[in-house]
Amino acid sequence: MTETSMQIDSSSQNPRITWEGCSVLLDINDGDRLVFARLNAGSTLKIGDKKCSLQPLIDCPFGSMFQVEVGQKGPHLCRIFAADADDQTAVLQENEEIQQNERKDNRALVDDNTAQTLSFEDINAMKREGAAGRQIVDALIANSSTYMTKTAFSQEKYKLKKQKKYAPKVLLRRPFTRSISEAYFKKYPARVGFLRMDVLSLLLSVANVSAYSDVLVVDMVGGILTGAVAERLGGTGHVCNTYFGVTPYPMEIVRIFNFNNEICRRIVRFPFSDLSLPEINDPGHSEVVENTMSAEMLSNSDEAPAPSSGGLPKSEEQMIQQAEDPVNNEEPAPSIDENSASSVVNAGKSQQPGKKATKEAITSWKQNGFSSLIIAAPDLDPWTVVQELLPHLSYSAPFAIYHQYLQPLASCMHNLQTARMAIGLQISEPWLREYQVLPSRTHPCMQMSGFGGYILNGIRICNNEVSIKPSSV
């Protein structure tokens, strides 16, 4: 049972190989574009000016690399193998050796890109004749009068630039929390409330998300939190996605994970008011009974502004539709010859995640409490939310709150301390830094995400010091 079989429907299916209908992340030209797609016979992807079928990507191992080739059947994606891809590395390493000596003279170099004798028409002619992207790149190099005068480093840069344009590469990536979260943060950060991948990971850890847990979540970050928790639970326990008011929060990102039916079944939703209805047989925690939602609150919820004309999803159907939207939205045309990906069709054969929680389940949670609580609601005041939810958390259970601003978490922490509701309280801010490690050119990356948000975490305590004795239960 060491095989990672949780994320597919048929247990005989190798999860490291794509299948028809599976969701994938396509990394085009080394992160220039990131596209989520579903692999179907009919799905296509537009790369540059070419529309390619995604069919060749089915039944390939994740991690495979493809290149656009223009053959007799028109442009198509063709798998390239590690051995072929190696030459690039070789060139790079060769570079390093002479890099040092060149530093001094590089300064005099002027690259005005005027030395190309191959015309636009020549290139088009080659394309019409069905030349492969590589061949065009080679021709461009051969016809550049300055190429040979460039430093090896500049030559490599030139080659890569032309390669990206004429022979774009597509890397087939498996959608994990890691890759989905990285892709959203890079291309569409507002959709996930600026929640960075390492911050999301920290939420899962400090909230002790583990097999068989019933994790209460407030996910106003597009479903990335719900998906990440479900991935960790692997078809055990429950992701208990609650919401205030009558409309569930959208969670379209969950559809990008290749969750099997068992995992989907364990993602449930319910309005917070369901938890708060008075319960007679509720022995262990009188606080909860005290905290039931008043009728005032319920009516208040009904008065909540209806989703605006901005097109917030009202039904499951709409949400699934929207699930593919980010693919288009997150395409800010990285280079002028790139257009947005064609929309891909949703296979839709798997069970819907996010069914409404059953009455029995809710009753059980009310009696037993949840094992963890995670709140990612960038627009809500954390204290307002946590004081409602915390009473439903089991004693000694951990909770974690994500927020974009420090001050609301500072107030929240102060209030939790003052009300003696929790211990082990800590506000933290992960600081992630990536490095460029290359011979003679090692340093931290210039661009970094200066900000990934703050986390407040702690552990709920039982304050009924003397009253709760074994005999009293």
């Binding site: 089991s394 039982c462 709760i468 074994p470």
Partner: protein, 312 residues
């Protein structure tokens, strides 16, 4: 039991501390201690003497009193609390690093993970949580005594069914052949990781991920050089956790802690301006909880280099 591998053991309002349970005795956020509950035993600390028998039957998360009236909290163990409690015994990986490694290695339930060395077992425990209930972590250490200690710890925390601890000089001998092509992820915390990268590559499934933790940049440089042969997507990160303190601050009267300045005598009453330009000006003053970064933050832990086995 740290992990609810038996779903019956999971936390609930009704779950009470029983004889034989492992509890984390929490004094302060930086002082806590794992204790096995034993009917006739006592715990003695600076707050007094605590009888274990007083603990049995109470819910986890309870505050319990000592003979002297001092108190501690009894918490259910988690990998994070365990790591914090452990940090007094040995050098450990930090929570932010552990967390990032588990996610970035794409460890999910059912995975087979290889680790070397075991060290304090702190990362191992978090890996076990992530592969539960069906996966497994095989961890190796050079030192017999460290392996033994780790096995005892895993037994105590109830995660031993998910972890196998081996004694082996991974740097010298590589990983055992039996794991060839079976590992989803490999983690290395070794002084010369480049010596093991070839072996790690053989263990990994296609597209599997490797991580190497190194304190010095020279180790990273050498590892990255070696990785280029059969790995791709080579990325090096550093992660730090900045923690904040929260205090109630009242600025207008010059409060906070007296840091040696005389109490200033600014007028409390803000004078009204006649100009309209001050409309919307925020009212300042009055006591407010405010956060600022803790001064004594850990400034560095190590470099994390990740790489993905190339697809053939």
């Amino acid at each position: 039991m740290m992990l609810a591998i038996d779903p019956m053991q999971k936390l609930s309002f009704k779950r009470q501390i029983s004889n034989g349970d492992l509890v984390i005795v929490y004094e302060r956020h930086d002082i806590m201690k794992p204790v096995k509950v034993c009917e006739g035993s006592e715990l003695q600390n600076r707050f007094g003497v605590f009888k274990h028998s007083d603990w049995i039957g109470r819910p986890f998360g309870s505050k319990v009193l000592s003979s002297k009236g001092g108190f501690v909290y009894l918490l259910a163990p988690t990998p994070e609390l365990w790591t914090l409690a452990l940090s007094h015994r040995t050098q450990i990986l930090y929570i932010a690093d552990i967390t990032f490694v588990v996610s970035y290695l794409e460890v999910i339930p059912g995975c087979l993970v290889l680790e070397s060395g075991t060290g304090s077992g702190s990362l191992t425990t978090s890996l076990a949580r992530a592969v539960a209930p069906t996966g497994h972590v095989y961890t190796f250490d050079f030192h017999e005594q460290r392996a033994t200690q780790a096995r005892e710890d895993f037994e105590k925390t109830g995660v031993s069914s998910l972890i196998t601890v081996g004694v082996r000089d991974i740097q010298g001998e590589g990983f055992p052949d039996e794991f060839c092509g079976r590992a989803d992820s490999v983690f290395l915390d070794l002084p010369q990781p480049w010596l093991v990268i070839h072996s790690a590559g053989k263990m990994l499934k296609q597209d599997g991920v490797l991580c190497s933790f190194s304190p010095c940049i020279e180790q990273v440089q050498r590892s990255c050089e070696t990785l280029t042969t059969s790995f791709t997507d080579i990325r090096t990160f550093e992660i730090l956790l900045r923690t904040y303190e929260v205090r109630e601050v009242n600025l207008e009267h010059g409060g906070v802690d007296d840091i040696g300045s005389p109490g200033p005598s600014l007028p409390c009453k803000r004078r009204q301006r006649s100009r309209g330009s001050t409309n919307g000006v925020e009212k300042s003053g009055s006591s407010v909880p405010m956060a600022n970064p803790c001064g004594e933050s850990r400034g560095y832990t190590g470099y994390l280099t990740f790489a993905r086995l190339k697809c053939v």
